[in-house]
């Protein structure tokens, strides 16, 4: 009962509804403008909203998250530049459609399908989270530890990049998170005897640096890319188009939810996997993929918005983020004195209902803003990057400074910005770093708890893993991630499946 009432919170308080709407509106543009990403926006916002109450702060962030994941598709279609990472797959067929003069149809289909995917994601969240949460109460410390490790590994293994670099990035994040005084024994760790490091490194500074400044520096490479105008006609897609792609959109939404719910992997990976899936299951597309197939829009756009709801599942039930944005939201909840994890659903059930309500309203706002305001949109997107980039940098500095009123944090932020810049250029994923920073403490504490309860005996620790089905599954998943990276796996796949069936096996 409480849950249902709290679900209505956002609808009964006009102020909150307004913030969700404002957030979604801003999110659509943040997502659409190349160089501004949702992760960046949310990590900068966390430092500005920390003096607010929890509900308004979360409302705004959820709006930006939902709108931003969708917004990237617009620029992908109109300019062939994905406005946000989750829209990379959308450009492959969206831009060819726009070139044929079908930009309006493409945007319309994208919007409706994003709404559909988003809704499926929220539905699964609403139904699955309470179950997962009560199940999570039986999690042992070692299970948390294994889940954290799995989450950090998954980004590296499901992306096209190198797993080794992903593991490095994750370990680096854990190390950053460990800097400072150990909370259990008050021993200094990684402080290099500098008083400056005793308090640890502000994770907000790390996030803003990695996702704000480094992205802005990277965008300097194509500061003078001019925007191309497209003519847009009909937006609202016909019912027959929607109905025809309903089966596919259900499949790709499920891919989105699952990838979103896996710790660490978010909308960008979900979209690429869904696109691959659509390519395999669509027997006779009206046009070949890559030349303007509608299926090539439906798949990534349903998946990336479905991943939003999915990403909240592990975040709210286990305290383990589903992707980089939820990692930052966990940070926001910590700042507001909440402790995401299985106890959150028991202690603060209204929080869960509220988040589901806010997500649903954000989804509706996204549909409304998606089907209107195209003219204003083309104006804003044409804002020159030579103005945009300095503004992002300024906001990053203000954001890093504002949390602790500390210049040191600004320097940390700039340092991590430069480091993140090189990491991006050389193919080191940044998601695992943030995941590592957020999960560092959880991993450390649960490892120590687990090993103490096994009387410091590694043999007993592994014995424990093999005696519990859950730990065993998680442990097997961790091993599987490594096995899939070796030649043995592709040999095995050829042997079993006859020919290669990419990626889906990794789920």
């Amino acid at each position: 009962m409480d849950m249902i009432l709290s679900f209505l919170t956002v609808f009964t308080q006009p102020e909150l509804l307004l913030l969700v709407g404002l957030g979604t509106f801003a999110g659509v543009y943040v997502g659409a403008i190349p160089g501004l990403s949702v992760t960046m926006a949310v990590s900068i916002l966390i430092s500005f909203t920390f003096s607010w109450d929890v509900y308004p702060a979360i409302s705004l962030m959820i709006g930006i998250y939902m709108g931003g994941v969708y917004g990237g598709s617009r620029t992908a279609i109109l300019l062939n530049i994905p406005g946000a990472p989750s829209a990379i797959a959308t450009a492959m067929d969206g831009y060819p459609m726009a070139k044929r003069g079908e930009a309006g149809t493409a945007i319309g289909v994208t919007t409706v399908m994003s709404f559909f995917g988003g809704f499926i994601g929220i539905l699964v969240l609403a139904l699955a989270a309470p179950a997962v949460s009560s199940f999570a109460l039986s999690f042992q410390p070692r299970d948390y530890m294994l889940l954290a490790v799995l989450g950090i590994l998954l980004v590296g293994s499901l992306s096209t990049g190198s797993l080794l670099k992903g593991i490095f990035a994750g370990a680096f994040g854990i190390a950053i998170g460990a800097v400072g005084m150990d909370p259990l024994t008050y021993t200094p760790r990684f402080t290099f005897d500098l008083p400056l490091l005793r308090g640890g490194i502000s994770f907000i500074a790390v996030m803003i640096g990695m996702f704000g400044v480094s992205e802005a520096l990277l965008q300097l490479h194509n500061v003078n890319t001019a925007a191309v105008r497209q003519k847009i006609t009909r937006i609202v897609p016909s019912w027959s188009t929607i109905r025809k792609h309903l089966p596919l959109s259900l499949q790709t939404s499920s891919i989105g939810v699952v990838i979103g719910a896996l710790p660490g992997t978010g909308g960008d990976i979900a979209a690429l996997m869904a696109y691959d899936h659509a390519k395999r299951v669509t027997k006779n597309p009206e046009r070949p993929f890559g030349e303007g197939a509608i299926e090539g829009l439906v798949a990534p756009e349903t998946a990336n918005n479905a991943a939003v709801g999915g990403a909240f599942i592990p975040m709210l039930t286990l305290g383990i983020p589903g992707d980089a944005v939820t990692a930052i939201m966990i940070g926001a909840l910590y700042i507001h004195g909440l402790n995401p994890g299985p106890m959150l659903m028991i202690d603060r059930p209204e929080m869960f209902g509220f988040i589901v309500g806010a997500l649903i309203s954000a989804n509706f706002f996204m549909l409304i803003f998606g089907l209107t305001g195209i003219r204003l949109f083309t104006k804003i997107v044409e804002m020159p990057r030579s103005v945009l980039i300095p503004l992002i940098m300024l906001l990053s500095i203000v954001g890093a400074y504002a949390v602790n009123n500390s210049i040191t944090d600004v320097y940390w932020m700039l340092g991590f910005g430069v480091l993140g810049y090189f990491m991006r250029l050389y193919g080191y994923p940044l998601g695992p770093v943030i995941l590592g920073v957020i999960l560092s403490r959880l991993l450390d504490e649960n490892w120590r708890r687990a090993i103490i309860s096994e009387r410091e005996d590694l043999g007993r620790f592994f014995g424990g893993i093999f005696s519990s089905p859950l730990s065993l599954v998680l442990f097997a998943a961790v091993i599987l991630v490594f096995v899939t990276q070796t030649p043995i796996w592709s040999w095995f796949k050829r042997k079993v499946f006859g020919k290669s069936t990419p990626q889906k096996d990794a789920q």
Partner: protein, 191 residues
């Protein structure tokens, strides 16, 4: 489609974790040096982690740091080994694709911002930064530069100072007096 478009499509820039930057089969300018630096830094961390509590116990405060630092050393070493064996990318140069002048200049401007923020205060420092950066990047007229930078700075200040109530260093600006003036103005209007 212009060249810059196709370049973007190649995703060697690492805007997303799903398609990180770099190449699978070639090494970018400076990549080997970066890999070496990571190995060295990882060793320094491992050394430091060992100093936390040594091999005292599996549950000691230093165990997880030592394990992570060890993983960093191993992975960065393998990455270095693999990177060194790859051929260089022939079409890229350090000064054009990795560290163009614009990136270096903007990075230095950011550092200068950090240095000046406390003594000068938020508004003057930001104004200098925005005017300098916009002028440098856009090569547009001074009128354009000044209007855009000061206009957006005013907007940012209003949004963050008043909506988000973020306090930035006032420095040489009489900000408190100005806020009081605004308050008087508005309370005067309501009375």
């Amino acid at each position: 489609m212009s060249d810059s478009d196709t370049e973007y499509q190649d995703h060697h820039e690492g805007t997303s974790d799903a398609t990180p930057g770099g190449y699978d089969d070639a090494r970018r300018p400076g990549e080997a040096l970066f890999a070496v630096l990571l190995v060295v830094a990882s060793f320094a961390l491992l050394w430091n982690a060992y100093g936390i509590s040594g091999f005292r116990a599996l549950s000691a405060p230093g165990s997880v740091p030592m394990a992570t630092a060890a993983i960093m050393v191993i992975t960065s070493a393998i990455v270095l080994f693999r990177t060194l064996r790859l051929p260089k990318v022939t079409s890229e140069s350090l000064s054009r694709d990795i560290l163009p002048m614009t990136v270096i200049v903007l990075a230095l401007m950011l550092v200068a911002y950090g240095v000046l923020l406390r003594p000068l205060g938020f508004l003057p420092t930001s104004a200098l930064f925005l005017i300098g950066a916009v002028k440098f990047l856009s090569h547009r007229s001074w009128l354009f530069t000044l209007t855009v930078s000061l206009g957006s700075l005013a907007l940012i200040w209003v949004v963050f100072r008043i909506v988000f109530t973020v306090l930035m260093p006032a420095g040489i600006m009489p900000e408190a007096e100005f806020m009081q003036f605004l308050r008087d103005l508005f309370s005067g209007g309501t009375n």
